[in-house]
Subunit: 108 residues, 2 copies
Amino acid sequence: MMKDKTICPRFESALDILNKRWTGLIIFQLLEGAQRFSSIESSIGISGRVLSERLKDLEKYGIVERKVYNETPVRIEYGLTEKGRALEPVLNSIQHWAEGWIDNETLI
Amino acid sequence: MMKDKTICPRFESALDILNKRWTGLIIFQLLEGAQRFSSIESSIGISGRVLSERLKDLEKYGIVERKVYNETPVRIEYGLTEKGRALEPVLNSIQHWAEGWIDNETLI
DNA sequence: AATATTAACTTACTTTATGTAACTAAGTAT
DNA sequence: ATACTTAGTTACATAAAGTAAGTTAATATT
């Protein structure tokens, strides 16, 4: 199936990134501040394999930045860039919608 | 890997729905008005198999409604419910972010 | 009457994405 | 030399998505 046309290329690129599994939750977590790999892993329940993949993608897109601290053992922190923090209103609008429209049945 | 705790159950339910592939684009399309199956299929380039699955899910969540018109051949239209239209600000915030932050390299 | 047409799916099968659990690398500390 | 810790990676299993052909129901055509 070939698609008709592109409505808005930037919008579709954005959805390609944001609409991937786990991306929303990773960004939501990092809005609270930079975190380590294992901390993100355990806070949202993603597998290490996919987290590693997603963080690389998000870094490539300039949404996340990786910082290495030469301590022992090494500490690596993932934080949002300005571009990443600019997603806060998106996450907020989702949260706002969820509060208004997700009822108890949907929750279960 | 088990996750630590749930930050906000409603928010996570919302992400479960919205973070699935194609959901964003389907809702974006339907914001322009109710559309037929084949029209959605060709406008966003999704496969019929998955579109069928997504529309059922979205109907189940109360985001989309399916209307049957007994014409020949039968006409079936999918449109947004009030809950679905309430997602417009979410899509708008994504579009706004995309316009400000998706550059030409990311597009390619 | 038999065949064709159209939209809206569904089915069987292939390819891609994600999950799981064990393993590796680098830098100490014992 | 061996063990410990974090941050991954690898090999393999399962789940989700893509592809293309087939089904159904109501006409229209020959």
